[in-house]
Symmetry: C2
Subunit: 268 residues, 2 copies
């Protein structure tokens, strides 16, 4: 039985989505929770015909692998990451959610399963996804965040939102996003289609809403980092066009901090 889960997490103190050797990850927390649900199998290799002593029993616990729609980096949060896994036994969706949340809480994991549902055998959280949405939050005020610590990028200099909005229009659509691509990016092609890049203002916050079928590694954070330079006057809106056309990572602005980024939806 294949299951699809929707997950919220606080990325602050974890190494990101993917299992790592040197610290906790969302994948590890979820796989530990699943392991607690998966019955251990005891194999006794006993030869009855010869009456020889039974060998040491082998306890096997097959932990299902959890595959996520997007591999968020350390510090990046998720409002609605999606993942899938297979279980030998059938379990009611709400019971699965409650059991996973119980075992996540036991690990003190900053992860919660919002929803669990049965999925088709060929459903793949990563490859079946038709679109992904991210939100990036900037706190734009003179004084540092306290209540929103680790939840926003604090930018103390005033940002010109209208100028940033003008800069976004060069990024929308189908482009070679090499200038906004991390060196470590494993995508085959730098060509992506950006479907949405909107900026809204709510009190002291500037919120970017970004949507595409898929993104290059660090693409959202590099776009935000560049638009911030438009907002603070270091760049003009039309410079974004030049930067995009340069197809050179060095032409664009720095990568915006992870703590402002949220994986907000995955569309299937």
């Amino acid at each position: 039985m294949r299951y699809k889960i929707t997950i919220e997490y606080d990325g602050t103190n974890i190494l990101g989505w993917q299992r790592q050797l040197d610290g906790p990850s969302v994948q590890e927390y979820l796989e530990n929770a699943l392991a607690a649900l998966t019955p251990a199998t005891e194999t006794k290799d006993k030869d009855l015909s010869t009456g020889s002593a039974p060998q040491v029993p082998v306890i096997t616990r097959l932990t299902p692998e959890v595959q996520g729609a997007g591999r968020t980096d350390a510090g990046v949060h998720a409002l609605a990451q999606v993942a899938h896994f297979d279980l030998e036994r059938k379990i009611e969706a709400w019971k699965l959610r409650e059991a996973l949340n119980f075992h996540l809480r036991e690990q003190n994991a900053p992860v919660v399963v919002l929803e669990a549902e049965p999925a088709a055998d060929d459903f793949n959280a990563r490859f079946s996804a038709k679109g992904r949405g991210y939100v990036y939050r900037i706190l734009n005020r003179r004084t540092p965040p306290v209540l929103q610590k680790d939840r926003v990028w604090w930018v103390p200099v005033p940002l010109n939102v209208e100028a940033m909005r003008q800069g976004t229009k060069y990024l929308l659509g189908h482009h070679d996003f090499t200038s906004f691509r991390a060196a470590a990016c494993q995508a085959k092609s730098p060509l992506k289609t950006l479907d949405k890049l909107e900026i809204s203002v709510s009190g002291d916050e500037i919120v970017f809403t970004v949507e595409a079928r898929s993104f290059l590694h660090h693409q959202v954070r590099n776009m935000v980092g560049t638009l911030k330079l438009v907002g603070d006057g270091h760049l003009r809106p039309q410079d974004v066009k030049t930067i995009l056309e340069a197809k050179d990572r060095k032409a664009a602005g720095p990568t915006a901090p992870a703590c402002g980024l949220y994986l907000s939806k995955v569309v299937y």
Copy 2:
């Protein structure tokens, strides 16, 4: 010179506004920050006429007392608490804000000064206040908060917002709020006028916006705790009237947790 400051804080790991012997408080953090700004005075009691040896110098540091508009409890947050204090020397308001924030950060305090401004000599953050506003946030979903941990009251059972709204109308206006008053409350009278009690819904969140000239101790949390019982069906909206008229704390619901409460404004 008297100064007025507006402060944001995360109440999670502090004992509340007021200075305590057994742990950190907002007042203590602010007074420590002010102490760092206040020059120490060195007194040498030296008798030159007799040529006797100078006595041990006495270092005196007069730390100004910081008085807040409202004494929030442990765990309660502030979006815009107001306080005042006096300084011997005159200092530009923006410099004072930056200096206080520097010394708050040095203490790793979950407190930030949003604004500092000179105030009239008779300005008193507590007694000059003409109104106070609070916000109370409930996260109403099956699964516990992760990103909003310590920022909301998690209520996993579905709440009927319309029923709660009907319950609020009995509380608006001038009443004896004894049923919603903490035993430790030091107010002279249980009579208060509730000017506003509105409930809005935003995604999974139910937000109470409450305004009055002043409140009894725990009044907001006790009102929310009672309205929650209306929302989950344990009480009918009209029971709120009976509870109010009982003038008995035992008639009302439990005190809602501190972590959902925010002092959101003080009006002068």
